[in-house]
Amino acid sequence: MTTPDSRGGSYNFAYLDEQSKRMIRRAILKAVALPGYQVPFGGREMPMPHGWGTGGIQVTASIIGRDDVLKVIDQGADDTTNAVSIRNFFLRTTGVATTERTADASIIQTRHRMPERKLQEGQIMVFQVPIPEPLRWLEPRESETRTMHALAEYGIMHVRLYEDIARLGRIATAYDYPVQVNGRYLMRPSPIPKFDNPKLDRNPALLLFGAGREKRIYAVPPYTDVKSLDFEDHPFEVQSWDHTCALCGADDSFLDEIVTDDKGGRMFVCSDTDYCAERRTADGANAEAAE
């Protein structure tokens, strides 16, 4: 583990100045008190472009402390470019311990997935959010969407989902599937696959969402009802696969399709690299024990 002293003293702990952290912390507390409501905040310039997770990074920078253990994932993987660069950013600016193991992390920053392993009380998930407003593609005016949230007037979203059913026979949205939080605010869960939506419901961990470009923070407190929108005759359902993971054999995890050659070869593997590795290690241990 790198010690905080190795930062060289050039930047404040976790990069942000203390006043920015205070402002973001106040926004986080109001977000927790208003589950699913997007709290505007004074988003700061970060040393990376928008779209790289600057919202999530500002949230993490405002909550992280020396005792934290940080995990960063991108599409479920710890070893992809976005995850590696954000993990390195916090290593350099805080010196905190990092991990790839979901169970060992106190803060998990994510882009586009939730870990397969069940989260625990006391853990915090930070989601990087590109577009926080669930109604934005239906109504481009912020003044209008704000009024819709104020009045809990979410009919246009139901119409959109209904139009899917009328034209395609099913709701076609596969990711960033709209949810209603605590029976009140309509929320975009960030571009996680709808496979992960059931994990949002009554999760023991605190879920924080940061949108850097749009300058919004929102939250789902632990044990809070999160319902994916649906219809009585078209209930919400998640993706399923005809395959199991080619590496660990899991039949309960979100699978990525990987093209292996130019002759049509392909394999399906877990998108959650930690879950997959843990299962393979356990299988190896079981096999050895059996011998």
């Binding site: 926004a27 927790v32 208003l34 992280i64």
Partner: protein
């Protein structure tokens, strides 16, 4: 407003890390309501101000957060709080984003608290109330987001007229104020989503 009174004591020993630890305590308290959270190594506090209260003021307040103090604290602690936080002290509760009540048995008129706007409910105030004691497993039963089922809490030294105001606040959701209770080094969060169950 007249010049704030009282003495000035020391601030946070390690502003960056003390604030961070304190914030995680507050975040824990607000995201898991009605459960006492102990704040570690709180700073010096002037007479009438609990150590946990002072820690939270250091952590959350600055020049952007107008603060209303009750008359007792105005006389004894205003100078220290104002010096360390830089928060503007306001005479009208309706202009404050934080309201600090030194004694839970002497509540001000809670109907004057800012509750936010339907389009901007986050502008509702944060009410900070010092009480006699806080312990889990008491006679008050709460439910709501952040609570797995129900949470029982014992609060000593909080005037009974708090609860009608709290019930009205629940009805007004998403408008409303968010409450933090303080006793010694302990805090309890009661955000506007938390419901008090009828006995």
């Amino acid at each position: 407003m007249t010049q704030p009174d009282g003495m000035i004591l020391g601030g946070l020993g390690d502003p960056v890390h003390d604030s961070q630890r304190c914030f995680r305590g507050i975040l824990d308290a607000m995201s898991r309501p009605a459960r006492p959270v102990t704040l570690a190594s709180p700073p010096d506090a002037p007479p009438g101000v609990a150590p946990a209260t002072m820690a939270v003021l250091h952590c959350l307040l600055d020049q952007d957060t107008p603060l209303w103090l009750d008359p007792g604290l105005q006389a004894r602690a205003a100078r220290h709080i104002s010096f360390h936080t830089q928060a503007p002290l306001v005479a009208e509760m309706s202009a404050a984003s934080f309201i600090l009540v030194g004694d839970g048995l002497q509540l001000p008129d809670l109907s004057c608290l800012p509750l936010g706007d339907p389009a901007y409910p986050e502008r509702g105030a944060t009410l900070l109330v010092q009480v006699g004691d806080l312990a889990s497993g008491g006679a008050l039963r709460f439910r709501g987001p952040g609570i797995d089922g129900t949470a029982d809490l014992q609060i000593d030294g909080l005037a009974p007229e708090f609860w009608p105001a709290f019930a009205v606040n629940t009805e007004l959701f998403p408008l409303g104020f968010d409450t933090i209770l303080f006793a010694g080094t302990r805090i309890v969060g009661l955000p506007r989503t938390t419901l008090l169950e009828e006995a």
